[in-house]
Amino acid sequence: MSGRTERGASRHPCQTKLDRKANCYQECPLVTPAPLIEMRGITKSFGAVKANEAVDLSVAPGEILGLLGENGAGKTTLMNVLFGAYAPDAGEILVEGRPVAIHSSADALAAGIGMVHQHFHLAPRLTVLENLLIGIPGKSGRIDRAGGLARLKEIGRQHGLNLDPNLPVSALSVGEQQRLEIVKALFRGARLLILDEPTAVLAPSEVDGLFAALRSMAAQGLGIIFISHKLNEVRALTHRCVVLRLGKVAGRVDRPASTTSAEMAKLMCGHEIVPPTKEASTPGASVLTLDGISTSGHGGTPLRDVSLFVRSGEILGIAGVSGNGQRALADVISGMLRPRAGAMTIAGKAVAQFSPRELQGLGLGRIPEDRMTTGLVTNLPLADSMVLPRIGTEAFSRKGLLNPAAIRAFAEAQIKAYDIRCPGPTVRAGALSGGNLQKALLARELAFDPKVLIVSQPTRGLDIGAARFIHEKFLAMRAKACGIIVIGEDLEELLMLSDRIAVMYEGRIAGTLSSTDATVARLGLMMTGAEGHA
C-alpha cells in the first residue's frame, strides 16, 4: 500500500465534503487512513467456475487503482459484487472502515459507489438532464430540473465533462454517453467510481479527455477503479494496480509508471508474451479492388470516391479517427451496404449484388466490428453462430434440411483448433468471454480459406494474450496468400501488422503509406487531414 499519492492527489485544497478523508491523509501521512473502500476475501462462483477467489482489494481517497487481468479473470465479476449486482459467496466489503451490506445498485450508490458499465444504462429518448434526474426525487416528489441543471454545469466545469443538457441521449456519441454515465455517478454522490473498460469504446483522441477528467476527480479525493487491457493506458493513469488471474490476485504493482508493460503482461498471463514476427512476403496479384466507391443513405460518414486494393499475401491497414467513413467502408466490403457509385472486384470477379452471400461465394471472409450484435446470436448455441453465414451451403445442410451432426462436428473441431474456452458447442454464445467470441468468429471465417479477409477493430476488448493469438492468425493467413484489410484505431497494432496503411479522412482515402514509411506521427498528421499522400 505504498506510493499511493505520489501523483496529482497532493496539495489540493479541501473544497468539498468528498475529500475530507483525502485531505487528512495528505496532511498527516503518518496516520494510516481508512481506505475509502476495502474488499476482503471476496469469493464468487458461477456453478463450477470460480470467478473470484479470496480477492482482497482496497482503494484510498484520491487514488486511481488499475484492475488488470486476462479475459475471464474475474474483473467485471468483482466489480459487480462491489456494485451490488451479485452477492458474494464469501467475503466482506468495508466502506471507510465500516462493513456494509451491498445487495443492490441502490445500496452501492448509497454507500458512495458508482459504476460505469461497459454497456451503458441510459434511456435513449430522454435528454441528458432527464437521464441524470431519473430516480432522484426532488422536494415534494417533483423533479428538481433547475437544481439538476446547476449541478450538471458545476460537475462539467470542475472536470471538463461538458454536456448539452437538452440533447436526447440518442444524439450523443459513445464518448459523450460515457461522460454522461460518469456525471450521473458523480451526481448521485459517488466517492468511488468504477470504470469497466471505459477506453474500449473510445477513439484514442477521446481517451485523453477521459484521463484528464479522471485525474481531476482523483485530485478532489475520489477513488477510482479503472479496468483496461491496454497496459500503456494503465501505466499512464493509475497509481497502483491489482492483477487478477483465474479469479485470484496474481500480483500487485505499486508503481505502474515505472513498470514495463512486459512485466505486467507476465503477471497477467503467467508467462512472457512475445510479439509475433512478421516474415517478409512478396504480395501477389490484387484480390480485392475498390474503384471509385461512393455511398449515401447510411448513418455515419459516407464514402466519397474511395479506391483501394489489397494484394494476396498482404495486410492493408486502414487508419483514421473513428467516424471518417470506416464504418461505411467495412459495410460496403462486407455486403451490408450497397454503394451509390463505383465498382468492386474480388479475385478479378466484379461484385454485382453486394450481398453477404455473393461476397462469401467470391471468397471473402468477414469479421464485424461488433461481435455481440453483428457477429453472433448470443441467445442461441455457439454452434449456430459458427455456421450462420454458411448454413445454406452443402457443408451444413442439404435440400433445406439441416445436418446437425455436421454442424456439431464443425463447431467441435473449431473449438479445439482455436482453443475456444467454453463448455461445448451447445453453450449459449453470449456466455463466452470477448476473446473467445472473437476466436469463434475468426474460426468460422478462416475455416473456409478466404481469399480476402476484412476485419474491424479485431482486438478491441481482448487481453494481450488473446490479441497476440489473433495477430498470429492474421500473419499466418498472410503467409498463406490471403489478402487482409484491418480497419483499426490502434496505430501501434496497425503498424505492427500492416504492409501498407491507408488513412481515411472525411470519407476519402487521404493517403497510403508503406510500412517502412509509416510512423505514428506521420499517420497522426494524415488523420487530421493535414497531409495528403498518394
Binding site: 452477492a87 450484435t373 453483428t374 453462430s385 445442410s397 434440411l401 439441416l402
Partner: protein, 350 residues
Amino acid sequence: MFRLEARSSTPAWFNLALPLLAIAIALLLCSGLIAVAGAGVVEAYGVMLSASLGDSYAITETLVRAAPMIFTGLAVAIAFRAKFWNIGAEGQLLAGAVASCAVGAIPMPGYLAMLLMALVGAAAGALVALVPATLRVKFKVDDVVSSLLLNSVIYYALMALIEGPWKDTFSGYPISPPIEDSANFPVLIEGTRLHLGVIVALIAAPLCWFLIARTTLGFKIRVTGENPEAARYGGINVQRVLLSTALLSGALAGLAGVGEVGGVHFQVMSDISPGYGYSGIVVAMLARLNPLGVVPAAIFLAAVMTGAEAMSRATGVPAFLSDVIQGTALLAMLVALLFTAYRIRRVGAS
C-alpha cells in the same frame, strides 16, 4: 431478504417445470374464486377433471376442443420464434373458416373437397397474416397493433357476410349455409365427435417442431428472431424470413378454422371461435414456443374449458372461470419465465 440475480444458463428441466408451476399457481389462485362463488374447491376441480378427462368420451371431447388451439398455438409459437408478433391468429382462423366453408359448400367428391378446404383455408389465413407482416417489413408498422386490429376487421366482415349476402336462407339465422355432407370430416370413433382434423393437428405439431429444429428455414427463423442484425450480416434475407414466417403462421391458424368448419360446426357462425386465436397465445407461451409443448398445453386449456362448463352446471360457479384460469396461467407463466433468466437468491442481513 431475497433478490433476483442473473443466471447464465437455464437447466433443461425448467422447460417442463415452469409451465407446471404456472398451471399450479393459476389453479391455486382460482380456487379462491371458487370459494367466493360458494362451492367446494376440491369438489369443483374434481368435477372439472372428471368432465374433461374422466372417461373416454370426455377425453375425445377435450381433444376436439384442443385441436384448434393446437393449430393456433403452433401458429403463435412459430411466429413468436421469429419475433413476428402475430396476435392475429383469431382473425386468421376466421378467414380460414370462411374460405373453407365456401369451398365445402361446392358439390364435389368428399376427399377432394376436404383437401381443397384445407388448402384454401390455409391460404386465406396466410394471406391475412401477410398483411401485418408486409406492413412491418415495408413500413415498420407495429405488428402487434396491426395484427390485433385486423381481428376485429375480419370478425365484423364475417358478421356482415352472414347477416347479409351469405345468410342461410333456409334457417333465417345469421349463419352461413352448411357445407356439403360429403365434405364433413370423417369421425374416427363412432359415437364421438373425434374427427380427422384432430389427427391432423396432432401430426402438425411434430412437423412444426421438425421445421423449426431441423430445416434451414427453421434455423433462419430462430436466428432472425434472436438477432436480426447478425442474421442479415450472415446473409439471411430477414424480410423474406419474416414474410415466410407470417405465411406459415397464418396458414396454421387458418387450418384451425378449417377444422372447426369441417369437423365440428359444418358452417360458419359468429361464435365459431370462442377466442381460440387468443388462447393460442397462452398455449404457445405455456409451451415455451416449443411446437411439441403446444400439444399438452392445448389439451390442458381444452380440459379447463370443457371442465369449466360441467363444473358450472354442477356447482353453480360461472363457466367464465375457465377464462380466468387461462388468464392467470398466462400471467403466471410470464412471471415464471423470469426464472429462466434470473434466480432468486437469499441475501443475509448480516
